[in-house]
Symmetry: C2
Subunit: 430 residues, 2 copies
């Protein structure tokens, strides 16, 4: 026995997991694309052949969550079904079909001393993903990480542990079947609360953290860890209807932006309307929202423009700052494009904002000056999504100002290094 303090068992367990991830990441970084695609396909097959086991594990999680009186939306997200397992397998096969994000060295140029300079995409290394209830994230996130050559450490909510472990078993078997290290995507196999804290402290073994969940989770992770975080902050998204908008299009875009799904980060939370078109646009649109069950909160001018057409309660400062993620909508009438952009700059979250206009100069100014990760013209904010952007899939939407801004696809899970080719060039010799 020595007097030295030993790390507590949980921390040691997590360190071992990290060490294995690091070792796997080095092998995976050198694996060729065909092997990684074979692994993804094999995992998809495993998910299908072990569907009953996955559903049984999920049933345990769901029963425990019910007994714990978990809220209905969380239960809904937790619950798997035959079709959800099939969707996971389909997702894996889709990722297998995406182009290799690594590829050969490219972007060659000549340096002033005659060296040839290229850039080569390499994986980020080990990615720690911390998420809540949805077990499908386990398969989706592992697939993107593997395809980009990264090892993943996946920490889902403790309420979904059995589901995640059943999925992890399929992932490990699929990796092994393709001759790749099973440790390339590990699920943290403990519900102990301290596991997240231990993960956040593992700078030596984890290169990037990606939290997927509410803003409290994201704030905790980026506050506590020195590991770089690809953050997804709030989605306080706006649609601005310009004076030059096609008003029928504007009404449909605004309605879709709010009602496609209330709970997604790209859902519109505030509708801004140019003063010149408020009286024409708002009465019918407000009626349509209210008929759909959306509660409206507007400025004085909104209330006046809607008139008696629908109920609009007065909006407060809090309404303009709110990410409702539900059937509420803030409205504001603005004097012009500049006032709309000033509102977005003050109250928005830099996620996704849209303009509806037929005026090309207004569209150009909006897309140039609005400082959000996505800016849209004549399209609803609910389109903010890696798949809709042609990235194939996404691991979340980043509102960072470094590395990735917007949906995080395969390319964003890589980084370019420099490759320099000389022929015995010497510096200072010229």
């Amino acid at each position: 026995m020595t007097a030295e303090a030993k790390p507590p068992p949980l921390a040691r367990h997590m360190q071992n997991l990290g060490r294995r991830a690091r070792a796997a990441s080095i092998i995976l970084a050198r694996a060729d694309c065909a092997a990684k695609n074979r692994a993804l396909t094999a995992i998809a097959g495993r998910l299908e052949s072990e569907r009953e086991k996955i559903l049984a594990a999920n049933a345990r999680d769901v029963a425990a969550a019910r007994a714990g009186a978990v809220a209905a939306p969380l239960l809904e997200r937790l619950q798997l079904s035959e079709s959800r397992v099939a969707a996971m397998a389909r997702g894996l096969r889709q990722v297998a079909e995406l182009p290799d994000p690594l590829g050969d060295t490219g972007e060659w140029r000549d340096g002033p001393s005659g060296l040839r300079i290229g850039r080569r995409r390499v994986p980020l290394g080990v990615i720690g993903i911390i998420y809540e209830s949805r077990p499908n994230v386990t398969a989706d996130a592992a697939a993107l990480c593997i395809k980009a050559g990264n090892a993943a450490i996946l920490r889902g909510g403790s309420e979904s542990l059995h589901s995640n472990l059943a999925i992890a078993h399929c992932i490990a078997r699929g990796l092994a079947a393709a001759g790749l290290p099973a440790d390339a995507a590990q699920v943290v196999n403990t519900a102990e609360r301290g596991a997240v804290g231990a993960l956040l402290a593992m700078e030596e073994f984890v290169d990037v953290l990606i939290p997927r969940g509410g803003k409290d989770l994201v704030a905790r992770i980026s506050g506590q860890s020195r590991i770089p975080v690809l953050k997804h902050l709030q989605g306080v998204c706006h649609v601005y209807v310009d004076a030059a908008a096609d008003l029928a299009m504007a009404a449909d875009v605004a309605f879709n932006a709010k009602t496609y799904r209330y709970g997604i980060c790209g859902a519109m939370e505030t509708l801004l309307v140019h003063r010149a078109v408020a009286a024409e646009l708002l009465p019918a649109l407000a009626r349509r929202f209210v008929a759909h069950g959306v509660e409206l909160r507007g400025c004085h001018a909104t209330v006046a423009a809607v008139g008696g057409a629908a109920a609009v309660s007065p909006a407060t400062e809090e309404d303009y700052l709110a990410e409702y993620l539900g059937p509420q909508l803030a409205l504001r009438v603005v004097d012009d494009l500049a006032a709309a952009m000033a509102h977005i700059a003050r109250y928005g979250s830099g996620h996704t904002d849209a303009i509806v206009t037929a005026d090309e100069a207004a569209a150009r100014r909006f897309t140039a000056e609005v400082d959000s990760s996505s800016v849209m013209v004549n399209a609803p904010t609910c389109f903010a999504d890696g798949y809709e952007y042609g990235l194939g899939a996404e691991l979340g939407i980043s509102t960072n100002r470094l590395h990735a801004r917007g949906p995080v696809g395969l390319e964003e899970l890589t980084i370019r290094k420099f490759v320099v080719i000389g022929d015995g060039h010497l510096r200072g010799a010229g």
Copy 2:
């Protein structure tokens, strides 16, 4: 009088500085490239016309540093001269001539729902740069930040405060002459020690921190701040001479990599030599190093290969981990390419590593598998530099795994946002 705690004066001062930087960054982000280039040219002119004032301010700093018995290399870096001021002005004009890193929206693609998706480069926002003695960094860093549309907060060493303020005066006048906000590049105008701590806490006003200096400075900044950091860690750089190397080229590349300048981060610190060529390469090369004043520390096989040709002391584990930045060199004889790469993976810092070989397969494997920000073939590591890579200039070399890996040029001071163009597309309507 209220009972509320007021922030201390220094923190308040720094907050004001941050608030002004944020406001300036919004204007600068929208400024056209011609205005920014006019500002850079005007600053260059000011540096020339106010040269005597700058040199007088620098003389005050140098006198104080001498009185404080500052070390000679630091004094050398602190001291300005007519030619150094001229070089600063020339650097600004060169940055003015570089292409605009922002430009129009590009990389258009079609999403699966028929949306057009593009990417547009935007500035990062406000960049905090923390550096040591060299006053020329004030002009160089401000120029790159301004050109990329970012506001800069510059905090040099307290020993160079008068020099930096004299340069800052020129920057502010040049910005104003081009109709841009003078606050777009501010030097922290106090030598108070707490200023750096206050800057690190200003998440609201600073988007990215770039430390330029020793590893203690970098470690302190990334340890203390929640603001993302573009880190430059150590440069423990290797040259590996392969069995298939042209040995005359290998000797010249290795000699240049070490002796071009001892103090730069791209200087070779360890030379790895394939066993098959050690006896032919090492005696003459070791003699050349020792004649140049370089002290050698090698493994047993190195000592044996050098024979009596030159003095080689035994290398320890510490030698292989050392960033000497001076006239010392570690040497090791390795069995093959794999052993060389294993040494680099274990002891290297991921900065810059080179292979000398005529074997294309070996070169390809080295550039693919060595996980450093720059990998070189038949070129000395001392070429690791943004200018030599054709980036025009650099704000340091990042060993990050996120955002930028390698020299940080204008492009790395920007980020791409998504631009989405529809024609009234609705999600879920298809």
